[in-house]
């Protein structure tokens, strides 16, 4: 497996694909820094100055364009799909798959090596962007991160990688299922658009409205509506990850439950301790890990049983 993994990595490092991904990572970091530079000074005093580097949207940019949202809705799905959509079917199209599998290698070694090499590049890209923001940001604001901020960022990085792994797994699954590279790319992109945009902004609110009508009439109905909507939204991996990154990066997020303004006003505006934040996102991360595992397991099983004819 090491041989295949090494070849895959060499391929990636010499490919234009990697160049594009890293350029995008730089752009994302630049944008986050730009927003932070414009927004951070006007912010009210906070315990977590360094963390706000990664989250500041303020009026500098539209809300959709803060770093956690970009990561959840656009960047990580994009990288994951870009690294996985042609993993198996490109070998098939080139006629190299049958040659590769007629060598004394286990089939699972091939798919494992593909997954691991994609994950390596993905982790590298994600780490690079966070380090860039952190490093340049540190020079910009001159406030070093506290140990809690550091741990929170590290866990955020890990969760980013897990989330990216889901998209890589999904893209590889499609590359196993569909023989034509274009089809697997389209299928992955369609799923991303559905869960990242249509589901969050249209499908979930509409269904919630049908299940819990009358949200504009009573407070109880409104609370119920938001509860149903939240539950539905969590079926979208993008939303799931977004919610968990909010907890990790805004320590002030105290609960993910729906509260009325009255209820919220009773809460102390104190940040949550690290352990408590972790407790909140634990289910989210578990679900993301299991989604990845399911995608990978299905592609694994299908690939192991698949006909290898060029």
């Amino acid at each position: 497996m090491i041989t295949i993994l090494r070849k895959e990595l060499v391929d990636y490092f010499t490919s234009i694909r990697c160049l594009i991904l890293f350029s995008l990572a730089f752009l994302i970091s630049a944008m986050a820094l730009h927003a932070a530079y414009l927004g951070i000074r006007g912010q009210e005093e906070t315990q977590f100055v360094f963390l706000s580097l990664f989250t500041t949207p303020e009026e500098a940019l539209p809300t959709l364009l803060n770093l956690p949202t970009i990561m959840a809705l656009f960047f990580m799905p994009f990288i994951g799909i870009a690294l996985g959509f042609d993993a198996i079917n490109s070998e098939r199209a080139n006629g190299t798959l049958s040659r590769l599998l007629s060598q004394p290698v286990f089939r699972d070694n091939v798919i494992n090596a593909k997954f691991l090499s994609s994950m390596f590049i993905l982790s590298l890209t994600a780490t690079t962007s966070l380090l860039l923001i952190g490093g340049i940001g540190l020079r910009l604001i001159g406030v070093p991160p506290s140990s809690e901020e550091f741990i929170r960022l590290f866990i955020y990085l890990v969760s980013i990688i897990i989330y990216g792994a889901f998209w890589v797994g999904l893209a590889i699954l499609f590359s196993v299922l569909f023989r034509w590279i274009g089809t697997s790319l389209l299928a992955s992109l369609a799923l991303w658009l559905f869960f990242g945009l249509f589901y969050i902004f249209m499908v979930a609110p509409t269904i919630a409205g049908l299940i819990a009508p009358g949200a504009d009439q009573t407070t109880e109905a409104a609370v119920r509506y938001y509860q149903v909507q939240n539950m539905l939204l969590r079926f979208s991996p993008n939303y799931l990850f977004l919610e968990s990154s909010a907890v990790l990066l805004f320590p002030l997020t105290r609960t993910l439950a729906v509260l009325t303004t009255a209820e919220a006003s009773y809460m102390m505006p104190n940040p949550l301790s690290l352990g408590q934040s972790l407790l909140l996102v634990w289910p989210h991360l578990t679900i993301l890990i299991s989604l990845t595992a399911v995608c990978f397991a299905v592609s694994y099983v299908v690939f192991m049983r698949q006909e290898i004819r060029t």
Binding site: K7, N94, G95, T96, R99, L101, Q103, V105, I308, T310
Partner: protein, 319 residues
């Protein structure tokens, strides 16, 4: 598990299938195939498109699971122990592909590494096989720029680099120019000397005739006939193994009758001024005498030995 031995020739049998069957949905691609190939020979697998040649090879090397039956290669079960089979066999797919961004040498090195051949050992080996297939001067070019024929040669180098004891070559000469075909066929013919048994499929019958000791003809997933070339030609061509063509300026029924009565002549057919005669022996002298005695000028006469073509056409049409 010991290797079985062919009772007639005393040679080891290296490939053996029992009722090997492959069905896709409701079409049977390979139908209860029983095949035996002995060690260190070149075996030609013949048959029209869709006869099941490729599928048979894929099952033998363990890339496709048979629906029924067993395939054994050097005593290893291709379905249950595919890795053991793959360690000692090489496979050249019909549409061979390489990593276009790598050079010829790098592609071969990758395959050598997958076969756990150390870099020190694979280096001279790669030079050697590239030399053998005539690609030594292109070794450091990216394969993406290779022509179809060059890729085909590299495919053969790719099979040879692991020094297989058995090589499956699916249409190895497809896409080559006539010169290339001759080189590759000669190369295949020399492989048994280095202890490599070769199984190759082809449509070009004369290639098979040139290098194969044994052939098998498949049709609709079944083996129509299998055996050594000599044996088969004797069986197949009962109506005479010599074909004599005589061209004259004119023909009359009387002459045809006279020729038909010559001893050893099996069949006479006239096409225009061309006579096609099947005979048990070389009867050119007798036939030309008969023509001249009938006062018909003889323009030319040709003799053709039996060929795989004839065997193939006979069995294929029967199958």
């Amino acid at each position: 598990m010991g290797k079985p031995i062919d009772k007639k020739t005393g040679k080891k049998i290296v490939v053996e299938t029992r009722d090997l069957t492959k069905r896709y949905d409701h079409t049977t691609v390979v139908d209860h195939l029983n095949l035996q190939i002995t060690e260190n020979e070149v075996f030609g697998l013949l048959g029209p498109n869709g006869a099941g040649k490729t599928t048979t090879m894929l099952m033998l090397i363990g890339l496709t699971e048979p629906t029924e039956g067993t395939a054994r290669v050097f005593g290893f079960d291709s379905t249950r122990e595919p890795l053991k089979v793959k360690r000692i066999t090489g496979y050249l797919p019909e549409k061979v592909g390489f990593y276009d961004n790598l050079t010829a040498r790098e592609n071969l090195k990758f395959i050598a590494q997958l076969n756990s051949i150390s870099d020190d050992k694979s280096k001279p080996l790669i030079e050697e096989v590239l030399e053998t297939v005539g690609l030594a001067d292109k070794a450091d070019q990216a394969v993406g720029k290779f022509s179809r024929g060059m890729k085909q040669r590299l495919g053969i180098a790719d099979v040879l680099v692991k020094k297989p004891r058995l090589a499956f070559l699916d249409e190895p000469t497809a896409g080559l120019d006539p010169d290339g075909i001759t080189q590759i066929i000669d190369l295949i013919g020399r492989l048994p000397q280095s202890e490599t048994t070769v199984v190759f499929s082809s449509h070009r019958l004369y290639e098979v005739q040139r290098v194969c000791q044994s052939i098998g003809i498949m049709s609709k997933g079944k083996m129509v006939i299998q055996g050594s070339l000599d044996e088969l030609s004797r069986k197949a061509l009962t109506e005479g193994r010599y074909r004599i063509e005589a061209e004259t300026t004119e023909l009359n029924p009387q002459l045809i009758e006279v020729i038909r009565k010559i001893r050893g002549v099996r069949k006479v057919e006239a096409q225009g001024n061309l006579l096609q005669i099947s005979a048990d022996a070389d009867l050119r002298a007798e036939i030309s005498k008969a023509i001249v005695q009938n006062n018909i000028p003889l323009i030319q006469m040709k003799i053709r030995d039996f060929s795989v073509d004839d065997i193939y056409m006979k069995y294929f049409h029967e199958g």
